[in-house]
Each structure stands twice: as C-alpha cells, then as structure tokens.
Symmetry: C2
Subunit: 262 residues, 2 copies
C-alpha cells in the first residue's frame, strides 16, 4: 500500500573500522549532573568481526535499496554472542535471567576500569587477579555499590589484525586475557556488582578449559559484556556506564550498545 518512493542512488552500506569508536561532548541535556563526555564502548559489528572459535560470523543481507524498493534496509543473521555483546545469566546458569528480564536499573552503573594492559602486553595469558582488584581499591577506594567492573587489557587495539584478537596457537588454543576465576569469586561474593566486562572475546582467559569465570559471575545473577571498545579512553573511576542490552524474548545475550558518561 505504500508505493516505493521515487529515489536516486542507494545508500551503500559503509564498512567502518570496528576498531575506532567515537566520543564527543554531551550536548543539550541539563539532566545529567556533571557529565561532559560521551564515549562509545561498542565496536562496529560486521561479517569480518572476529567470533569465538566455532561460532558463525554475522551476516548482513540487503533486502531493499532506495533505488530498488524506495528505502534501504537489511536482514541480519547473527549468533547472540558476537560483536560487543552481553552474556545474560541464563547463558550459563540454569534458571538464570535472560537479558530482556534483567531489571533495567542494573543497566546504569558506576564503571570501574581495572588496567592490566602492561602485564598483558608481555603475557597474552595474563589474568585479572584478586590482587588487581585490591590494588585498584587501594588507589581509588572501595568499588562503588552496583559497579560494573571492566578489564582493560589493551586487546581492542588488536582488532586491526583480527587473527591477533583470538591469538590461536598451532593447536587452536586461544590466548588472550580474562578475569581469573578467583577474581570472579571475589567480586560475586564480597563486592556489590551488576556485572563485569572485558575488551577480549571472553570473560575467561583464552586458555581456560572450563568457563569458570562465566559460571561464577552468571550464576550469581550478574551479566557480562565481551568485546568492549575504548576502555583506555575512560577514567578508572567516576564514569557511568549505560548498557543498551538486547531485549528479545529468551535472550541468552546479544549485541549491546555500551555508552560511558563522564
């Protein structure tokens, strides 16, 4: 019933670099206290964005162009756990919440960034240890209530060479940093968090054989975010993260727009 609009050229999909997220000054709103900076912590997802070994790449299938149909749109086919994405509790926890049912107020959280990039630069099997959390608290004070705790390993910079992001050895084992299970236990049992995030492709380090950090965090009712961008550009403490997580029925997770305000 809607005739196609007479139109000129198609808006061609732009394959932007997924390694260069944007930021800018907050404009127009007087509602957000002292916030002056907005930073995008999501990479651009695409059919070439690296995926966990064995998972399918996402596909973008054009349905119409402005020329062919009056408007431009695509079909997306994607594994929930690709791109910058959420792991909901139900991803690993029997009876855990799916993403669309997480209380929305948990998606707005004080952001704590724990930097292990120095160690990770020389050891791709580096893990964020309990001692790293205690050292952060020694410098910045106790983790704030309802915190989202992110590991900065420097891995986002490797997306210019996607193979180096997974960093598989000759046997296929991946080597990248993650939260050590003991750090996950400390956060789940002795701190007040809503979730954890990493700039790598898994909450557990690449050589993990058991997803122990996933299980500890998700079974405690918290969520994870993987493949975060631009963590090096946000302060270690004092920013607020907005987790624009997926909202489809029964979501084990899904692509997520993560924005930091500071």
């Amino acid at each position: 019933m809607h005739p196609a609009r007479a139109a000129g050229q198609n808006a061609t999909p732009v394959a932007g670099s997924f390694a260069t997220p944007s930021s800018g000054p907050l404009a127009g709103s007087a509602m957000l206290g002292n916030v002056t900076q907005v930073r995008d912590l999501s990479h651009i997802h695409s059919p070439t964005f690296p995926v966990f070994p064995g998972a399918q790449q996402m596909a973008i299938n054009n349905l119409f162009t402005i020329e062919s149909g009056g408007y431009y749109k695509n079909e997306l086919v994607l594994d929930e756990h690709t791109g910058t994405h959420m792991d909901a509790p139900a991803h690993f926890a029997d009876g855990g919440l799916t993403a669309e049912l997480l209380p929305v107020e948990q998606l707005i959280a004080p952001l704590a960034v724990i930097d292990i990039a120095g160690r990770a630069a020389s050891d791709p099997d580096a893990q964020l240890m309990p001692g790293d959390i205690l050292a952060w608290e020694g410098e910045h004070g106790p983790l704030p209530a309802g915190a989202f705790v992110a590991m900065l390993s420097g891995w986002a910079e490797r997306l210019v060479d996607p193979a180096s992001y997974l960093n598989q050895d000759a046997a296929g084992v991946t080597h990248f940093p993650g939260f050590h299970p003991d750090a996950a236990t400390l956060l789940a049992e002795e701190r007040d968090i809503v979730g954890i995030g990493v700039d790598t492709i898994s909450l557990d380090y690449g050589a993990s054989q058991d997803f122990a950090t996933h299980v500890t965090i998700l079974a405690a009712g918290h969520f994870g975010i993987e493949c975060l961008a631009a963590l090096a550009s946000v302060p270690a403490t004092g920013a607020t993260v907005i987790v624009g997580g997926p909202k489809h029925a029964g979501a084990s997770g899904g692509p997520t727009r993560v924005i930091a305000l500071s």
Copy 2:
C-alpha cells in the same frame, strides 16, 4: 577446545509480555545529577511482535542449550526494522548516515513527550500537528536544544492484541497515528532536534501513501525510533533519553534499547 560444562536443565527461553516494560530506581551511581528513575522504553521483541506489512517476523533459532552444549545461546534472524528500533538517516536519505556512524553524543538527549492520546483514542488516523508542538511549548517552554521528540498516542497498549496495533482495514490499509509531515518540517527546519520517536510502528501515520515524515526527518540527518514503550510513564519534559542504537556496519537501523532517566 572448551569441553561442554556438565549441566542440568536448559534455560528455556521465556516469552515475556512485550507490552510491559520495567522501571526502577537508579542505584549506586553518583554521576547522574538528580536522576532517580530509570525506565525502559523498549518492548520485548519476539517472533510474535507485529511487523510492518510485508516485513518478515524475527526468528529465534536455538543453537545450544546448557544440557546439549554446555551453554545456552540462539541465532537471531531479523529485519532491521522490527521491534523497538531505529531508523537511521540512510534508511530513506541518499548519502545519509548509517546508524553505526551517528555521533554517539546524539544518542543522549533531552526527551520531550507530546501527548495526542486523547485525540487518537477516537481517531486512529490522528496525526501530531504543528499546533501540538506549539501547545507543548506553550505549556513547557521551548523544546530544549538537541531534543528527542516523542509522540505518545497510547498505541503501545494495543500490543495486547497485535492486530489492533497495525489496525488494518478491509483493504489492508493500516490506521494508526504518526507525525504529520508539516510537524516534521517544523521540527527539521525550525527546531534543534536529534530525532523523533513514536509508540506506533511508523513515524508517518498508518494511512500515509508517501513516507513524507520519514523523508523529511531522515534527510535532515536525524534519526527515528519506532515502537517505543511506556511513554505514558515518563514526564512530558525533563527526562533524558539514552538511545542504545544498533552498531553494525551499514545499518539502516536496527533493534534499539531505549532508556529514559528522570
């Protein structure tokens, strides 16, 4: 290389009502000024969520359960323009920005809600007119700079009966409210906005034959959000909207997590 975790029952997808989004008090963050309430303006998307006539329903295909694979995850197949979703400028505008390239600071905006639900209750072809914008400004003052302007028509309540959301007549013509093209022109040419949103399935009213409001708003470089939830629960002025829009390459739009802070 990751052996499946021994596990019990599968986390069954929960088909929650897409008509009842959640809200709650902001917790834990001291960074957001006077914000006390967080409201979810996105519906739960699902294979039964109504779509624009001719578009495909989204599909959720289970890939693994905890029992079968050690973790639970799904594949999603979806038209970018289904569920609560963004229309990027490129959806209708030659050379317009795709969603992933919109400046991130435009995704945080003061929210203005213009209520035409009274008129829409008796006239499903009601449109938000220039006079409705001027009346809003008469009551609340000028639209704030960088505003996101949302139409509240009451249509979200119709999702309990999806057919009434599209409201097609015997000839197949849809009947639901939208922004009148003259209101779109007023906003695009004489006000400072980042985008507009509706609680119906199209920025244009259902009986439109030409997508004139889409073209005016998107060609001006602004974005649209369709199928917004819970607009009746947010104040007409003073809230801030966070638009967790899609970030895949060449996005004409896509499912979007929209959150209001007030």
